[in-house]
Symmetry: C2
Subunit: 636 residues, 2 copies
């Protein structure tokens, strides 16, 4: 057990260890707020007369409130014990105490970060958080744009929205110059394909020049841009417009991403009208990484078919395996394609993994602890490559331990935000306070300022460097390695039990996620393996329970395609009959720093879990096979 | 002053009148939660040893926490005093106490409503809230689908996403039947135009029949649907596919909405790839209502140009004026168009106004108070027409007094959700708890369960009927009428001052918003009127202040186009030179039930504000005209 580690105090603790302190600050926050109210026009009389507070009606209301509150908080007790070191399931844990307290404090004031008028304080907090992320990912803070949104899914939608606007900007400039009789920027390409393959950086320069030329003719560049943009026409009509002008038009734009990408990308393609068929999945290797060789082949195909690439998505920390795509190699492939005339903006979906970049950030001038372990190198290299990408999604409500919903999008070329700007007559015009409003540039409208305060306060108490978040997250990665090693040792232990079945980890973890597959020696087919793992997953999953006491350990599950390289490349698995499309496996996410602790019987939680898991597998193997498995069949 | 009105206790009160009670319940909630933690595997030892809590490191951490917290809550004190009856600006007020307490209580548990696995309790809360809204709007709860999202903007995006999927479903069925050799449903139309004009209700029946026919051939209807849907191809490729099949294709689909609709609709059209040009704005009358005559003309044009209508948007409570579109007349126009073969689903943007429907809901079997005032009739009629619409957006974080971000989308034909469903391998599959997961059917991913608890608890303490929200909101509407009458009396008072300028209300309020235009007798041009009103708006707007004490009253502003019927139909305004495109006016939203109260000097807040406003206008008129106005020129 560590002594006096300041990171421990970041959380309330599994037993509410910091209870007194938490209650003290909550009380302070509430009192401070209430007396702020009282100090605004102090002489205004109370709105509710004192005697009314003692009236029968008031008494009755309070009684009803307490009764309903009792019902509410009793219901909540059937929620999942995310706070416990025994919860190792999804990417969720307890919220960090600073974020919790800041959320509460700010929610009292009720600011709305759509506009400075509705949130003069917390919009600034949001911009400060944005600068922090831009620095963390190596973007120039003055040129980039970052804002918070309700979650990574929305941030991913926005990446497409911004990058699509950028992708089509040179073409829009060409059309606008032609139709509005503005002189075209000197470096504006002339062929359609070239216009659709200008790098975002160069696009920024072209737009600046276009603005100059419009000014010279006393025209408003933004108005002209909007008139001739893809967003004005929609894809189908725009293709016709382009055909009228160029005598040819473009083929369906595509988005490239690894097969392991989050399901929300399919939704994004449908939502934005791109079509799911125009999402090109890139193969992954047996470690669940996007394969640079297949990425090159995909880009090549786009080039041959003359299909513009809106963006390529690389994943830094997959939701399923915590795996990290090889950004340096993938970026090199992108750069080579650029040489041949095909450009692709790169978006990094680091909703999960973005905070891991803090591991490699120097704290207070001190270099980060040198971590030479080979398992950390993919993460280190991916983080180091971020400055060369175009945009990053990161979710403070995942590894940032902020309350939901806190996502963020960081875009390197901040000028893109102007391309999507919309204004509202009743707001978003703040000459009184002299700033541009966020609401103009983001998908969402009204949104809680409390999120910005929570994220900022978390970052103040646990900085985005190797002394703060970095140290904590490195601890968690090591915990995952430790667990991986324990599983490996277990299999090699020669214990009779582990001759009957093995517990196979799926690839060495690159962050803090470990996936396991229970493989019985007796299994003949993948379907049989799937059934067994499904039963195990139900045993350790969230169920209809009468009390949370029913849970000893909680882990989650995921499903992998049986044609995935991990399975086809594995000797034991590929030897089995392949009679199903997908295989359930167990998934453990380590977000609780105390999972390395011990039970009251002085057994490590990790070993205790592995013991219970093994016993359960034995019991299942001893039973007759079941035709179908439901919650009823779970051995509790 | 009312005595013992239970609605008063719904809020903490402008002076924190309910402070003791609030603190009592906050303490209860926190203790109850912490001891829930302690009662989960009680024997697990504390993770942080007690002596560590007293260590120097812990002490230092707490010191730093308090110091940073002091900075945070001091910053927040420059936030806007939304809680005060002196704040009559935007659609924001203090959060209701039940919602606040429930949000805090639930945030501690940190549920994520993307999935029952991550929120077994609060997903059910969300579905309960959904049923409440469905009932309020007159939809059948069993057939409809409602969920919460981060705000009305996202809900509006979703309305388009769902209704677009429904619009194209019959066409998709036709393509799927042809290509997959499935027998077409008996009533499936055969021409392209007919396929794009099937009512949503009938579409549901066709889909059910399609599913039956697929089952008969042992095919999965959803897979076939996805394969041949618009979402798979994107608009441009789909038009080509349709052309190959029908020998003709469809013209750009449109969305109709009043000119007064929220700016986010433009963003929606751009985001979804529809193109802003395909948003057809319908004219509004001098009371800012969508004009049924022009709506008919627009639908006629769509019919003639063979353009499918994805949806028509009617607004129940515009953000700018609180005005209510004449739903019965508009729906009659839609129904007539249907007879001629053009169908349009109707979406109601009631982000702001949805809660006003509670005014007309019977409470506990008692009929709602009969309110015969003529000003209330547009609202009453619009609410009564809701059951005939296809979907409604409503924002609990507006007139529901819930914390941000709480929006909701209610769709009448719940089967549409299946058309957009996506699954995630690691979640959204909950056989263990036997429910379908929300995350499959909504745009967002991870999202706070605390929102659902807050909204539900608000609704429990203040029901969605004429005894709860309805009574409160009717009070606010009456307050707006009262204010309107005071302004009218002031103009007619014969006071010398009001011969120099008039304070013109823009239309009698239909909800709780009043817009004002200060009109000096000396003005010769609209630009001069605009300048004056802009100066006044700056005076009462949010500014860079050193203390909130600088604000005596806060009101907001909006801008109206000078070619709007309100201006062109007004004798005095239309007589002025029309030398600008837009006119600033003041906008007051009454959300605070104590705005009807009095200052310490026993002056009504409303009169006090009008007095200060009039004095300020006099002072401005006495000054030399300023070429340009910035914050520096404000007379404080």
């Amino acid at each position: 057990m560590r002594e006096g580690d300041s990171l421990d105090h970041f959380f309330l603790g599994p037993k509410g260890e910091l209870r007194r302190f938490f209650k003290e600050v909550v009380e302070l926050v509430v009192d401070d707020y209430i007396f702020w109210r009282r100090n605004y026009h102090p002489k205004d009389p109370p709105a509710i007369p004192y005697r009314q507070l003692q009236s029968d009606g008031a008494e009755a209301y309070r009684g009803r409130f307490n009764q309903e509150l009792f019902a509410l908080i009793s219901d909540l007790k059937l929620d999942v014990p995310f706070f416990s070191p025994r919860y190792m399931a999804h990417m969720v844990s307890e919220v960090a105490m600073p974020g919790l307290v800041a959320y509460l404090a700010t929610m009292l004031y009720n600011p709305n970060n759509v506009s400075l008028e509705a949130a003069p304080v917390t919009v600034r907090f949001e911009l400060e958080v944005g600068r922090q992320f831009a620095e963390l990912f190596g973007y120039k803070t003055a040129e980039s744009f970052c804002h918070l949104c309700s979650g990574g899914t929305i941030a991913n939608f926005e990446s497409l929205w911004f990058n699509r606007a950028g992708r089509f900007l040179p073409l829009t400039i060409a059309l606008a110059c032609h139709h509005e009789k503005v002189e075209a920027p000197a470096e504006l390409p002339t062929t359609l394909w070239q216009l659709l393959n200008v790098s975002t950086q160069q696009t920024g320069r072209l737009y600046a020049e276009f603005q100059d030329r419009c000014r010279a003719r006393e025209l408003d560049a933004h108005t002209l841009f909007r008139r001739w943009s893809l967003d004005a026409y929609g894809d189908a009509d725009y293709r016709d417009l382009v055909r009228d002008h160029f005598g040819e038009t473009y083929s369906s734009p595509v988005v490239l991403m690894p097969r392991s990408a989050h399901y929300s990308w399919k939704r994004a393609a449908a939502l934005l009208g791109l079509g799911r068929r125009n999402l090109l999945p890139v193969a992954v290797d047996d470690g669940f990484h996007m394969d640079p060789v297949d990425y090159r082949a995909c880009l090549r195909r786009c080039y041959e078919e003359r299909r513009p690439v809106i963006q390529s998505v690389f994943v830094l920390g997959t939701t399923e395996f915590g795996s990290v795509d090889p950004l340096p190699e993938l970026l090199a492939v992108r750069d080579q394609a650029r040489e041949t005339g095909l450009d692709s903006p790169v978006h990094v979906d680091a909703a999960y993994g973005g905070y891991f970049a803090t591991i490699f950030q120097a704290a207070d001038g001190r270099s980060p602890e040198s971590v030479e372990s080979s398992w950390l190198q993919p993460l280190r290299q991916a983080c180091a490559a971020l400055p060369a990408t175009e945009s990053v999604t990161v979710d403070p409500h995942k590894m940032g331990y902020a309350p939901y919903g806190a996502g963020a999008l960081v875009i390197r070329h901040g000028f893109l935000r102007r391309l999507v700007a919309e204004g509202a007559p009743y707001a978003l015009d703040t000459r009184g306070i002299g700033h541009e409003d966020l609401g103009k540039f983001i998908l969402e409208g009204s949104k809680p300022g409390a999120v910005a305060a929570a994220v900022l306060f978390n970052h103040r108490m646990m900085p985005l460097d190797s002394g703060g978040y970095g140290r904590h997250l490195l601890d968690l990665c090591r915990l995952a390695q430790d667990f991986y090693d324990r599983v490996t040792r277990l299999n090699a232990s020669g214990h009779e039990r582990h001759q009957r079945f093995q517990i196979l980890p799926l690839a060495r973890p690159e962050t803090n996620v470990v996936c396991l597959l229970v493989l019985p020696a007796s299994a003949l087919s993948l379907a049989a393996v799937d059934r067994l793992n499904d039963q195990v997953a139900l045993r350790f999953g969230v169920r209809e329970v009468a009390s949370v006491q029913s849970y000893d350990y909680l882990v989650s599950k995921t499903r992998i395609a049986t044609n995935a390289p991990f399975i086809t490349a594995d000797q034991r698995l590929s030897a089995l009959e392949s009679d199903c499309d997908e295989l359930t496996c167990l998934r453990l996410v380590f977000m609780n720093r105390w999972a390395e602790g011990k039970t009251a019987d002085r057994i490590d939680y990790l070993d205790d879990f592995l013991g219970i898991l093994s016993e359960h597998v034995e019991a299942l193997l001893a039973r007759k096979p079941q035709p179908d498995v439901g919650a009823d069949n779970v051995i509790a």
